[in-house]
Subunit: 254 residues, 2 copies
Amino acid sequence: MNIVLLGSGNVATHLAKALKAKGQTVVQVYSQHLVNAESLAMQVDAMAIDDLSNVYQTADLYIIAVKDDAIESVAAALKDVTGLVVHTSGTASLSLLAEHVKKAGVFYPLQTFSKIKDVVFDHIPICIEASDIHQLSTLQQLASKLSDQVLELSGEQRKILHLAAVFACNFPNHLFALANQILLKHELDFNIIRPLIAETAEKVMTNLPENVQTGPAIRNDQTTMEKHLGLLTNEPELQDIYQTLSNSIKLMLK
Amino acid sequence: MNIVLLGSGNVATHLAKALKAKGQTVVQVYSQHLVNAESLAMQVDAMAIDDLSNVYQTADLYIIAVKDDAIESVAAALKDVTGLVVHTSGTASLSLLAEHVKKAGVFYPLQTFSKIKDVVFDHIPICIEASDIHQLSTLQQLASKLSDQVLELSGEQRKILHLAAVFACNFPNHLFALANQILLKHELDFNIIRPLIAETAEKVMTNLPENVQTGPAIRNDQTTMEKHLGLLTNEPELQDIYQTLSNSIKLMLK
């Protein structure tokens, strides 16, 4: 398949590299900033462009991997292409594309992508959506080359999944960062809690999180919770987070 | 070493089994409820007791692994023993024991223990504390048999570590549970987000969480955050958590 990648951020980067590794051909990489397009294009032997009017009109697939609020303007520039145009967003609807292009779809890999860490796609859920059965089949075939977890989801389901992902990934990562802040202030190293973080994730690979909750809140251990709040006296923001999440854990007791 | 274990909960259970596996002898297991004491004692070939006046007075080590607010009453019952008495709490101070027993210490394994999952102690940080250098050395030797991560921490440092652990383990696990609630309501399976949770933890094994934060809040993607809050209209508690954590992530942008 000849693929044009529109975007040069985390998702675009990991997707382009994974597609290339699976024998697909990335012909162009577009970014508003040529230097970004070039940096990614170089890695996948593609041409870099920074002007949407230079996009090849005859590629098989156009993958729009830009910020949600930029999807529509990129799609508008692809109104004449005959290939399938997909976006990679968890929240944007299919119709956002369908209003502009001839063949529209969604190709949403459910994973957290950072440029500084490589990602193995093998088991990453790839959520696909299209209004036409042939286009769905095209996406199914492509997604299957990258991963053994291909899910055909409705737009509503995909949005729910994206929301759940914020709770399961973005928020926990931030809590790791707050833990590190607390440790740093007392000259303790983040390394000390890495085994705990690994085990916390490991536990829910085979159990449901509801069944393996530990800590003072689920024991309703008021003394410990008060001591912890006392240690955070000068950090009202952390106190607020501590209270909010502990109260939510206690609701599970009922 | 002859060891008496006072407690039969998660920490007591995993510790007793790990000590036994490393060639130590657990001579007695105490619990208020004989059936609980028996259940653990059976697994480590120990005697079960439910009366503190029946505790052997001549063991080498007494490990108090009970709820924080029960530590003192158990310690009071050990005032005549000559062996070293430790507790396993992240927040209770050493003096809580030192007021009652002849030789006092702390033996705090930093991990999340659930009865339904076995734990490998090899790399679990074990935090030790004692007022006497000989007792510290005893704990150091014992801890080294279980783990290659033995840390001599002050009571203050241990309390901070325990607080950080709540942020790095208990709260993230609860967020996994909330993600599951969201998925369940829309008939989506928790399995879909397991690879995401695994990768989220995996990423911070070699990076600091501050450097790998992803999601709408760190991009300050207001449109997506508003859509997410809209999906939670009927769940004010989840909206509150979403807002609180997103605001905290945005503070990192500054």
